[in-house]
Amino acid sequence: MLFLQRLLWRLATTAVTLFGVAVIVFTVVRVVPGNPIAMMLPPGATDADVARLKALYGLDRSIPQQFLIWGWGVLHGDFGTSISLRQPVLGLVLGRLPATLELATMALVMAVLMGGAAALTATRHRGTRVEAGIDVTNGVALSIPDFLWGLLLIIIFGVLMPVFDISGRVSPDLKLPFTTQFYLVESILRLRFDITADLLGHMFMPALALAIPLAAIIGQVLKQSLKETMELDYVTLARTKGYGETRVILREALRNAILPTLTLVGVQFTFLIGGTVIVERLFSYEGLGNMAIDAVINRDLPLIQGIVLCFALIFTGVNLVVDLTYAALNPRLRHA
């Protein structure tokens, strides 16, 4: 009952948030100086041509009117037509979204593995130089944002040790026999591991750049949480049974220490997705964020709206799921 209440309340606030995002982005893009229509027409176009094109994109109406028309379309799955690419926005967004999702998921996996390893190693070697070293590394990793890690990786792995590709999603000379845009997933399913390897080679550096700050947060929080768990009686009991320290950490303490980390990872994951915008740009990775920057530069109003709304949908969706999972798992909230 209470869970249902919470669910409904959260759905309502999410709807309000999305509406707010839509209003803001719609208004903001319409005060952008620089006329997208003028950029589309060849020199020498008459005023009548401009007016016709404006009418075609609905730009001749007032902003509230435009918003209602657009909003009505969005609710019916019609996000309008991109001005610079002259294709439906929904198709463009859905075409690029898989690339971004694959990148973000890969980064998340890397962050969990690296952060988890750091926390477990530091806990295993509590009070030694190893722990101090991991703490300092975490502190540095946390202070530097993904953009700088990306640049640093470009210098290290792109120039000093050129082992990875520094731009694009896949080598342009590869023929892709794919039907979806989820290249990585599909290449594995079709057992085309040559393409998988190429995709991973392109994905490694942008994903690592995104993963490092999150890995540091995971490392810190999981370590703190493990530290508290390690002092509980049941862990001491496990130790007196003669279990080795590694086994005590992995089999006994980790299970109880992991919940606070999980909720944190959920929230931080949205920051990671936000980071894809500039990291994709940096590595010329053909995802949603890279397209978004082009859309802003080209003053492509419908496309900007569509992409921002797509990001907002992902962010609020992730937050909703995290919040509800936490409510479902936390007995104190369940019976409150």
């Binding site: 606030t13 903001v28 202070s143 953009f147 700088l148 120039v159 894809t276 964020g289 978004a292 921002v308």
Partner: protein, 283 residues
């Protein structure tokens, strides 16, 4: 034997000195850029393009860190770029802290409808990808220093609002606040005289962090060519140029990147160090 607190304080000390030292050096260099920079940062010389740094055999004297593809001196551009970076940090940081902190304090202390509105706004803001938001704002506001600063304030106030709100709510539940109310303090006076000083250490640490973020945002906007004119020496602009010629002249990317790296790291470590030093619990 050192107890835990001693160890933390010692580490905080080293952190403060190292990060503070770099920031002080940067401020000095930025203030005296015309005197310190060996060359004119805008002077092009196509005949001496892509000269390597001083340790290389092909280096030319006077161009310590080499030149970019247009023959502009990398060291001088890094020095002048520090001016832009620090200007943005020193104006955008405090302004963001002031606005976000005030809103957070009001939301956390007064609660009620003010809190509801501010929290809803924060939710909406958090649903925007920040980099895309800033690029969009620059497209609206036009390029230039003022636009960058405005964009940072408009986007990042939520960072302060969220933290200060939570902190003010914690403090508001404490006995000393109730005592102040009993003693006849007005709500406003309780907020400014009792809550604010206790929120201050967090606010200062966050401010230092935010100044580093402001430097990054400026670099990102210059990187996508939306900050100042393309000619102006900015770290982000140099990085963008260096990114395209990375295989021919890595130093054009590397040196501004090192400056950016150290600056962002120093701002965040300086803030953390200050917080540890002024935290009454640790002291």
């Amino acid at each position: 034997m050192l107890d835990g607190r001693g160890a933390i304080r010692r580490r905080a000390g080293a952190r403060l000195w190292l990060s503070g030292g770099w920031l002080l050096l940067l401020v000095t260099v930025a203030l005296f850029a015309p005197l310190v920079a060996p060359q004119d940062p805008l002077a092009q010389d196509l005949m001496s393009g892509r000269l390597p740094p001083f340790w290389s055999a092909q280096a030319e004297p006077g161009f310590w860190l080499g030149t970019d593809s247009l023959g502009r001196d990398v060291l001088s551009r890094v020095i002048w770029g520090a001016r832009v970076a620090l200007t943005v940090a020193c104006i955008a940081g405090p302004l963001t802290a002031l606005i976000g902190g005030a809103l957070g304090l009001i939301a956390g202390f007064y609660r009620g409808w003010a809190d509801r509105i501010i929290s809803r706004l924060v939710d909406i803001w958090m649903a925007f990808p920040p980099v895309l938001f800033s690029i969009l704002l620059i497209a609206v506001l036009g390029t230039g220093l003022t636009s960058i600063i405005l964009a940072i304030v408009v986007i990042d106030w939520t960072r302060f609002a969220r933290v200060v709100r939570a902190e003010a709510m914690n403090q508001g539940a404490m006995d000393y606040v109730a005592a102040a109310q009993v003693a006849g303090f007005s709500r406003l006076r309780t907020m400014t005289a009792e809550i604010l000083p206790n929120v201050l250490p967090t606010l200062v640490a966050l401010l230092s962090l935010e100044m580093g973020i402001a430097v990054i945002v400026e670099a990102i906007l210059s990187f996508v060519n939306l900050s100042l004119s393309t000619d102006a020496p900015t770290w982000g602009g140099m990085i963008a140029e260096g990114r395209t010629s990375i295989h021919q002249a890595w130093w054009v990317l590397a040196f501004p990147l090192v400056a950016l790296f150290l600056t962002v790291l120093s701002f965040s470590q300086f803030g953390e160090g200050l917080k540890d030093r002024f935290d009454p619990v640790l002291r």
